[in-house]
């Protein structure tokens, strides 16, 4: 972690993305097979549903050194499990407010919807998220210091 300072011109943010198997993961796949370029800063973690994302995953990712966390699922009404993303939306609206309230930058944790046909949008989202996190610099709050 010691090399993570903003003055370092080579610093690149690490972004963890929790994505839904049915929509965003397929969207990412589409972006891939369509050869759409997007920043390589993101690490995708495939989950069955955005509703499967425990708020703890988001906080834990921040603690373990992610500079940004993205959660992406199906658009409301299009959930494979019917209501998973609606539960997720409630959970994350409160989580984001609470993180912001204790002083974590709002742009560190982002939530979005990307469907399986939106390869273009997926690339856009990743670009946007990377830019936002880059502008914030390395995460300092809630980050575990190993030494």
């Amino acid at each position: 972690m010691a090399d993570n300072n903003k003055e370092d011109q080579n610093w690149e943010p690490k972004i963890v993305a929790f994505v839904c198997n049915w929509c965003t993961y397929a969207g990412a796949d589409l972006a891939g097979i369509s050869r759409i370029q997007y920043p390589p800063n993101v690490r995708l973690i495939r989950l069955p549903c955005s509703g499967r994302v425990n708020p703890f995953y988001v906080v834990k990712a921040l603690q373990e050194g992610a500079d940004g966390v993205l959660v992406s699922g199906c658009h409301p009404g299009e959930c494979h499990y019917l209501t998973g993303n609606l539960s997720a939306r409630r959970k994350f609206s409160m989580l984001k407010n609470f993180l912001t309230y204790v002083g974590v930058e709002p742009d560190r944790t982002l939530f979005t919807w990307v469907s399986a046909s939106e390869g273009e949008k997926f690339a856009h989202v990743i670009k946007g998220v990377t830019d936002k996190v880059k502008a914030l610099g390395p995460a300092k709050k809630l980050v575990k210091k190993f030494d």
Binding site: V59, S87, R90, M94, N97, T112, W113, K141, L142
Partner: protein, 336 residues
């Protein structure tokens, strides 16, 4: 106050003698002046131990849950046809009934297993405020006269207004009378000041990001991780807490400061839409960590986003237990 206490004892005796309850959870005189401790009355001869005064601070819903679940565990060894139910009577003020409602909604026990003896509440004395009012000296006597409190220390007596030393949660409480009850003792209590309920939260929201973080980190720095807040909380009843899980191990056991921050953050987030603001966690904290500033934010969000207050009625479920197509979603990120 004495009148309520006498009625309480009478009702308790009647319930126990009629066999309507197996045990009554209430408050009894503590070992130190100005303190009460939860007690479990099983025979009417002991009913006179029950007290009701401004020092009754703990939320008894926690004990109701524990008693019923311990009994259920012990019944596992009995043949199914021989299993019994334990009926618990509980002395409940407004916040206690909210916790009971929450536990009922979350199917922790049945309504038939409960007999709720409702008591009106005008707030309980916050231990820290009382100590400060006594000038940090050892308190050797406490006497309540109406809305005043006489505190005796080695340095003499001092007279304090009760409403100056009640818990912050009580000052702005909107549910100081029981929401559900089987038996009601005393007359309904006068309302507190619910209009100012979210003032402290709004004030905190308006601070800068750095100020907010500094306050959060500073408060969490005090935490010694005794887990008293978790143990006192009626909404914290998981048999295995995320703290004690080790596959995966969520929280390190060392002194790393972010482990404490993450533990408190997640424990509080588990209270989203479930915290009844009884103030028990703050009251039991030996280090005086200001948890309420943060917990109240979740309460405020639950109300502002989903128009829900924890334990308000048996019908309205906690906001994270239900879903709706029409929730607000300004927080969703859309790239340009």
């Amino acid at each position: 106050m004495k009148n309520i206490e006498n009625q309480l004892r009478e009702e308790a005796k009647k319930l126990l003698d009629d066999g309507k309850v197996n045990v009554i959870v209430g408050y009894e005189e503590g070992t130190l002046p100005g303190q009460t401790t939860p007690c479990f009355i099983e025979s009417s001869a002991d009913a006179d131990r029950l007290v009701w005064n401004p020092f009754c601070s703990m939320n008894l819903a926690k004990y109701v849950h524990d008693i019923i679940h311990r009994h259920r565990d012990s019944q596992k060894r009995a043949k199914p046809e021989e299993r019994t139910k334990k009926i618990v009577g509980v002395v409940a003020r407004g916040c206690t009934t909210r916790s009971l409602i929450l536990n009922l909604q979350e199917k922790q026990y049945e309504r038939e297993e409960l007999v709720i003896i409702g008591v009106p509440c005008t707030g309980y004395v916050a231990r820290r405020k009382l100590d400060r009012a006594a000038g940090g000296k050892e308190i050797i006597g406490c006497a309540v006269n109406g809305d005043r409190l006489t505190v005796t220390t080695a340095g003499g007596d001092s007279d304090i207004l009760l409403k100056d030393i009640i818990s912050n949660s009580c000052m702005t409480c909107r549910y100081n009378n029981p929401i559900i009850s089987d038996i009601m003792v005393g007359d309904p209590a006068p309302p507190m000041e619910p209009g100012r309920e979210y003032d402290a939260v709004t004030e905190f929201e308006n601070k800068t990001e750095e100020e907010r973080w500094a306050y959060f980190a500073g408060e969490m720095d005090k935490c010694i991780r005794c887990y008293a807040c978790r143990n006192a909380c009626p909404s914290c009843y998981c048999k295995v807490c995320f703290l004690e899980q080790n596959q995966p191990k969520w929280i390190g056991v060392g002194v790393e400061e972010t482990d404490t921050q993450v533990f408190q953050f997640m424990r509080m987030f588990h209270m989203a839409g479930r915290c009844v603001d009884c103030g028990s966690c703050v009251e039991v904290c030996p280090m005086g960590v200001d948890l309420r500033t943060f917990l109240k934010k979740l309460d405020k969000d639950g109300f502002e986003l989903f128009e829900h207050r924890a334990g308000e009625s048996l019908e309205s479920l906690p906001p994270l237990s239900v879903h709706s197509m029409n929730d607000k979603e300004e927080f969703i990120y859309e790239p340009e």
